[in-house]
């Protein structure tokens, strides 16, 4: 069992994560019904207010707090108990993050920040919304650096040795996060806050968009890499095999750092202010991420096959049926991975220079991120939650909970399949995202979107309702494992943190040389961004004053 300090810290992070999840999914439920004209909100509540809450609470707050709960537990498990300093700084970081979260959420709830989680200028929210977001990021940095401090101490004590895989991956993810946040910190600190408080009159809109997306794309890898960590280190243990290849796993993470940051322009392909050449360069860099993704897919299937054969699977695909399907920890993550296959393929479409025109800002995009972050990431986190909370609280995870867990992931999979398929097709037909209604006063062309078997007014709502049911079931399991289930007494009743052996004897030392990799990352970033950003500053139009259009 982990030291009491880390357990408490991780549980608090988990608590905030699931509180955000509760409010966020409730917002999601309202959205599907409002969009379909089945629900009217009271005058003090607005669709875009709800949508802002949904995006912020699920995509930013739920994910980040959960990720830190996972990191804290795993770092303590693989490197040993935290010292008092590491623990203290983690708490400080957590509290700063929480303060930022509360501040931003209050601004959304009182209707002062219906600017969505992308807060594009010159929409101007209450300045305290931006302060809240800034605190959130600063808090995450403090926690991140505290964990890196723990890692450095281990490195010092174990000179010349490669760190355990879990720790290596945690540090890679934190490195990615810190580098990515530089963009959003720059725009919030130097552009939004002075402007929203009225210290300056105008804002350079195109620059703010570019700095935002410099962050916004790697943000998705910040969600994804912790899920990959579970796939690389937790799943093999559940399967009863060692990590497939330690060096491959490390190389994949290094490549994710290199190829996820200098690519934000692929979110800006349809807009002015960036020349075609620079857009195209970033499209090329975007596609590079296919390589570590394929490496990851390979390792996963290699592990499945090895485990299946070990259990007596014969023939080309016989191993498949021999996987531990009755193990909730495995099945949940397997479904999560399966959703990532169409998710990744859709990503290639979005990033393609011209194809993006067809899908940009349509419901396709909403479908896309519900089958990337909303399922592969979220469902991996659910799969981890089942054992992580009992592990931290020392409670039992009963058979009833297991059954409920299977129902929960089943419902989530079905709900997402319905909702995201409908969203993908509606998007291809042209239905826009981020609209309270999309019938344009009964315009013929708009009504046609909703004529299909899957794309009618009912499917999305049915999908959304199933999802909400699943979310409530999950929260029930969370509350039971956190507060109610009986304490484990017998040794076999204790839930384990499944962490696979990783043979690092053949792993090249250079893979853990951060100076090299972070150095290369910055070179790539400078190549991709220095000239276009310089142009945006030199060739800037007169800035924009703020607008409150909600």
């Amino acid at each position: 069992m982990l030291a009491a300090g880390e357990r408490k810290l991780a549980l608090w992070n988990m608590g905030v994560a699931y509180t955000a999840f509760l409010i966020g999914t409730l917002a999601g439920l309202l959205q599907v019904f409002i969009r379909n004209d089945q629900l009217e909100l009271p005058a003090w509540l607005d669709y875009y207010q709800i949508l802002t809450a949904h995006g912020v609470l699920l995509a930013l707050i739920f994910t980040t707090f959960f990720i830190f709960a996972f990191f804290i537990s795993g770092m303590s498990k693989s490197l040993g108990a935290f010292g008092p300093k590491v623990l203290l700084w983690n708490w400080i970081g957590f509290l700063v993050m929480l303060a930022g979260t509360i501040l931003a959420t209050v601004m959304i709830v009182i209707g002062e920040a219906s600017v969505l989680y992308t807060f594009y200028a010159p929409l101007m929210a209450n300045p305290w919304y931006y302060v809240g977001l800034a605190l959130f990021v600063v808090g995450s940095w403090i926690m991140g650096f505290a964990l890196v401090g723990h890692y450095m101490k281990w490195r010092k004590a174990n000179r010349g040795e490669l760190s355990p895989l879990f720790a290596f991956m945690t540090v890679s993810t934190i490195a990615l996060w810190v580098i990515a946040c530089l963009g959003v910190v720059a725009t919030v600190l130097f552009q939004y806050i002075p402007w929203a408080f009225g210290w300056v009159d105008t804002i350079n809109v195109e620059l703010s968009r570019t700095l935002f997306w410099y962050f916004g794309h790697p943000l998705v890898y910040f969600w994804l890499l912790p899920a990959y960590m579970a796939w690389y280190t937790v799943v093999p243990k559940i399967l009863g095999v060692p990590v497939f290849s330690d060096s491959l796993a490390r190389l994949a993470f290094v490549l994710f750092i290199l190829f996820s940051i200098p690519v934000g322009f692929h979110h800006q392909l349809m807009e002015p202010g960036i020349s075609d050449f620079w857009k195209f360069l970033q499209v090329v860099l975007t596609f590079m991420v296919i390589l570590p993704s394929l490496m990851t897919a390979f390792s996963m299937f290699a592990n499945f096959e090895r485990a299946g054969r070990k259990n007596g699977g014969k023939g080309l695909f016989g191993w498949f049926t021999k996987l531990p399907w009755k193990d909730l920890r495995f099945t949940s993550i397997f479904i999560a991975m399966a959703f990532f296959i169409p998710g990744g393929a859709g990503g290639i479409i979005n990033a393609s220079f011209q194809l993006n025109e067809i899908v940009h800002n349509t419901l396709w995009i909403v479908g896309h991120f519900h089958i990337t972050v909303g399922t592969p990431v979220a469902m991996t986190f659910m799969g981890l939650t089942y054992w992580l909370i009992p592990y931290l609280t020392g409670r039992k995870f009963s058979n009833t909970m297991k059954k409920l867990g299977f129902i929960q992931i089943g419902l989530w999979a079905v709900g997402m399949l319905l909702m995201s398929t409908a969203q993908h097709i509606l998007g291809l037909l042209g239905a826009p995202r981020r609209t309270a209604y999309s019938n344009y006063n009964g315009h013929e062309s708009a009504l046609e979107w909703f004529d299909g078997i899957l794309t009618n007014h009912v499917t999305m709502a049915v999908g959304g309702s199933i999802l909400f049911l699943s979310a409530m079931l999950l929260l029930y399991i969370v509350i039971m494992s956190a507060f109610v289930s009986p304490k484990a007494v017998e040794p076999h009743e204790f839930v384990e943190f499944p962490l696979a052996e990783s043979d690092k004897r053949a792993t090249p030392k250079i893979l853990e040389n951060w100076l090299v990799w972070i150095g290369i990352a910055f070179v790539l970033i400078i190549i991709a961004y220095a000239i276009p950003i310089a142009q945006m500053i030199q060739h800037a139009p007169p800035g924009s004053r703020g607008f409150i259009t909600w």
Binding site: D46, Y48, L116, Y120, P122, L123, V205, E206, R209, S245, L248, L251, Q268, M270, E271, P272, G273, I274, S275, D276, F280, V283, V284, F287, M288, I290, L291, L294, M295, F298, I348, F353, Q354, N356, E357, I358, H360, N361, G430, P432, R433, R434, A436, Y437, S438, Y440, N441, H443, S445, A446, A506, P508, H539, A540, P541, P542, S544, F547, T549, W550
Partner: protein
């Protein structure tokens, strides 16, 4: 570093796919001139109404085969002169800008899908293949009236 034999095959396959994808996209973009909406022209967002061509929004014939449509987007409407009417089979150069927040100018059933950013002019050239009335919508969130922001363009023979 040791890589499994199958893994090498898999990565070579991946790399070849990668090169193929990028070549297709690249050739399409730079040899066939199929590039998305963009442009690096700037404008003072406070003076849009006084700046050509947005001082007279609407469709203008440039020569026998090309027309220009200048459109001003603002919360929550488009100003493209009276009604937008363009001929089928001719190149239409859309030029759009915003007087306030970010909007989009998206024509249903076409690949015209432009972001409209204050301070910038977005340009996209398109040739309609079929006559008819096309729905134009704003698909970038721009405020409470975002879902009412739409207009029509008529494509005539």
């Amino acid at each position: 570093m040791h890589l499994h034999k199958y893994e090498k095959i898999w990565l070579v396959f991946g790399t070849v796919c990668l090169i193929a994808f990028l070549s297709i996209v690249g050739v399409n973009a730079f040899a066939h001139d199929h590039t998305p909406a963009g442009g690096i022209e700037t404008i003072d967002p406070e003076k849009v109404r006084e700046t050509a061509p947005f001082n007279e929004p609407g469709v203008k014939k440039l020569d026998d085969d090309t027309y220009q449509a200048a459109i001003v987007a603002s919360a929550f409407a488009y100003d493209g002169g009276q009604t937008l009417t363009v001929p089928v089979g001719k190149e239409i150069i859309f030029k759009v800008t915003s007087t306030d927040v970010v909007h989009s100018f998206t024509i249903d059933n076409t690949n015209v899908n432009m972001m409209v950013v204050p301070g910038q002019v977005t340009t996209k050239s398109y040739t309609f293949k079929e006559p008819g009335k096309y729905l134009i919508i704003c698909n970038e969130y721009c405020g409470t009236g975002h879902h009412f922001m739409y207009t029509e363009i008529e494509v005539t023979e």
